[in-house]
Symmetry: D2
Subunit: 272 residues, 4 copies
Amino acid sequence: MIQITIIQIDNYGPWTVTPNPRRESDLQALQSRLYSDLNLQFGAHKGLVFYTRFDNLMAITNGIDTETHKRIQDSIKNRYPFTVSMASGVAETPYEAQKIATAKIQNKGSAQDKYRTEILDIEELDNSIENTVTLAHVDINDITGTLTDLENAYDTYVSVNEVHLALIKELKKYNAMGFFIGGDNFMAPCNGMTEEDFLEMFENIKNSTGIDLKAGIGIGKTAEDASNMADIGLELIRDKKTATQVYTLNYEEYAVGNIVNQRTLGVNMDCK
Amino acid sequence: MIQITIIQIDNYGPWTVTPNPRRESDLQALQSRLYSDLNLQFGAHKGLVFYTRFDNLMAITNGIDTETHKRIQDSIKNRYPFTVSMASGVAETPYEAQKIATAKIQNKGSAQDKYRTEILDIEELDNSIENTVTLAHVDINDITGTLTDLENAYDTYVSVNEVHLALIKELKKYNAMGFFIGGDNFMAPCNGMTEEDFLEMFENIKNSTGIDLKAGIGIGKTAEDASNMADIGLELIRDKKTATQVYTLNYEEYAVGNIVNQRTLGVNMDCK
Amino acid sequence: MIQITIIQIDNYGPWTVTPNPRRESDLQALQSRLYSDLNLQFGAHKGLVFYTRFDNLMAITNGIDTETHKRIQDSIKNRYPFTVSMASGVAETPYEAQKIATAKIQNKGSAQDKYRTEILDIEELDNSIENTVTLAHVDINDITGTLTDLENAYDTYVSVNEVHLALIKELKKYNAMGFFIGGDNFMAPCNGMTEEDFLEMFENIKNSTGIDLKAGIGIGKTAEDASNMADIGLELIRDKKTATQVYTLNYEEYAVGNIVNQRTLGVNMDCK
Amino acid sequence: MIQITIIQIDNYGPWTVTPNPRRESDLQALQSRLYSDLNLQFGAHKGLVFYTRFDNLMAITNGIDTETHKRIQDSIKNRYPFTVSMASGVAETPYEAQKIATAKIQNKGSAQDKYRTEILDIEELDNSIENTVTLAHVDINDITGTLTDLENAYDTYVSVNEVHLALIKELKKYNAMGFFIGGDNFMAPCNGMTEEDFLEMFENIKNSTGIDLKAGIGIGKTAEDASNMADIGLELIRDKKTATQVYTLNYEEYAVGNIVNQRTLGVNMDCK
């Protein structure tokens, strides 16, 4: 089971043009700082936030309780010119979880209702063994050699966005989700998906865009544990230490087999 | 003529995994803070930055000289664990300008060359009358009523990304560019495009995605002046004060006709 | 028992002038951002950080374990152009605790030893009943009416600094510590001090500087709980609901007597 | 002539306790971020800001006009939960300049008047030759060897604050001002003071505190130019290339005599 939190700035659209449109560079600075802060604050509890649409963000929040959400919500109010609403859902798949979370916020009123502020409706997961996050770190094969150093910046950007759209639509078919995390990197909460699903999906994307993808998949109790495993899996693929372009690591097993793995795979686990 | 600056983090990819993959929430916080800072620092000189791929950013920098670029480059080195390279190009169209800028950086070495650091190659525009920025602020008609309050967050996000990709590809046909700026908003540096081009482009996007767009187009000496005009144009469309879904305002004429415009259009220009 | 953590930027002095002195506005931006981030990150775990000398900071960290310190230390390395060392001490009084913490860092090498990086030596407190933080929030009586609105800004600043120095020296006599937190406000970790000690200390400071002080004193399991209690105590004094200029609230008792207290004192506890 | 700007958060005190006291770690994060941002934004125009009391800050703003102040004021409103007022004064000495600036703000109402917001009253200096900033960078001789690595952190902090208070009071005698900038460093806007004044002042402070100080003094058209010169002067003293513990460099002459100076003094001026 995965826990997904929706974070929505309350009545943000109207604020940006009241009493007159606000300077765009300020709004970009403000929105990206909010995203930065939310990653530090959820990150302090091993969560991970995606910017999504900047005024509507999504976070993986397994292991993060209502009080912690409330404390982050207060902190935003204490430091920003607006407030945020938050709701979480838990489900077998990420897509289902966000659907539950969205419904909770929508039921309380419109995103542009000025009287609907600071909704907080957090469904928590308990600590039982099946409540893990499955998270894939996807990237493009050799983007530096094939795009960044070769094509102009806008064309590379268009290519990355083609992959992005193809990926987020493909992932939805599996009730998973995908988010851009910079460069040529994507993160996909994907509880329920198998390595075969990824290989098939990458085949489809290759066919439609001509671009090759690979993925480290991590499993862990929190977004951070899963993300760390996904990163190491991706490094193993980059170093050609895996049979296919998809490789899965489970934090629990990895921790147990740590010393053996280090010797075998040449990966140093002390980093995090 | 428009001046576009490419900003590239030097050798960033390798750094993120050295000696081991760094925590993802930290990287997201770091990248979005860089984007925030660049908007404050270029914004201090009426520029505007788009996050593009976070490790490769683009800015509209009409009116911003080499020394100012150098000072921002120094400031990043002084406060971040990495350095950035910057190059600008000037051309009749945004797409051509970024192409020139990209070539300058690529000619100095790979984005992942550890000895290629802090490239600075800025072509400046003089202050002559034809050197203006044309910038469109595009948004989706009533996204709150049709998507945000109705669909689940992920589906809305997919829809916005469908529009995004269609838009950035269509704009390229006109040698223009497009960037997501949060919510349902896009900004398009579009020197050389006409209102008719926009109406035709929106028709195409409507046909392929089913989604209606509108655009305020601003013209000004700097990104900020143009952006302010675009914002006001968009407000006029929202208030149904225009004949079509595209409306252009020129900063120079607007300033001259300020009082008349305020009376006629009910817009207060004192804000910025 | 109180737990105090010393945070020291590794080899910072030499870095600020290598290869040449760095721009001062950048250094101020960098240092204050570090302070800001540490407050968000320790604050996420109910700690509280004081800027002290900006390159050497102190935090109250009751309830914050080694792993959390390590995660914050990593996060600084991941986002800043330097690393930090951290050590904590626990003792009956704040002054003794910081002494232990300082010794741990000094024993590992000089602050300007370039090979001594990322020391981490955290002594944790268990959760037993006697391990509470006592924290006073001190301010100047009616500074707005007597100084800010009347004297010039520099003279007010000198006056506040006179009080600051008198206060931090007086507090040391009781093995307590004091820090400026903006405006006319000071925070003093003061385990072991009584209300009488404060009244006597304020009398001395009044005699030497002519300035009247008051203090809310809070007791709680964490810096945040104690701080909240201190704030409420100070509000009660401001509202003339207390007999003297010093008032103590204990989080544990307060929570128990919450409803009664709210009615009696007119304070709303729901805020935090 | 020097231009000093006072920046005051409007009605901040009441906001911090409305409807109830806000979390202290959030307030510290908020205040230090404001200080950080103001240094980036004034720094973008070669100004320099001191935190002073965090809710009342001072900046050296030679060369920064009303429009730029207004743009920074707007940017704060666009990104913070409060607004700021700003006023500047120009005078032969820093102390006189801030006095004029303070009076302008006080005349418009109390710092805690909720209807007095966003005062903007900027007196600008023209670009004539006599309008330079004189700025001293003062530090403690070998603080790492004598205090940081030897004494406990609190005792070092008390010592630095003793020096700080002595310094800011001594400077006032010369109509100069002093501010702590971290570590063992102070910056003193000091138009009108001579090297002899500094030597005499340091003698007094040595007698009262037992601590030795030194100072690089810089003269330039802007705070940044002066600050850079002060930094280089201080480096020359540290490297024992000067006759006394005070050394002055003038940006205009320095630039002219740059190559000679580099050879003579071994300083590389290319850095900034």
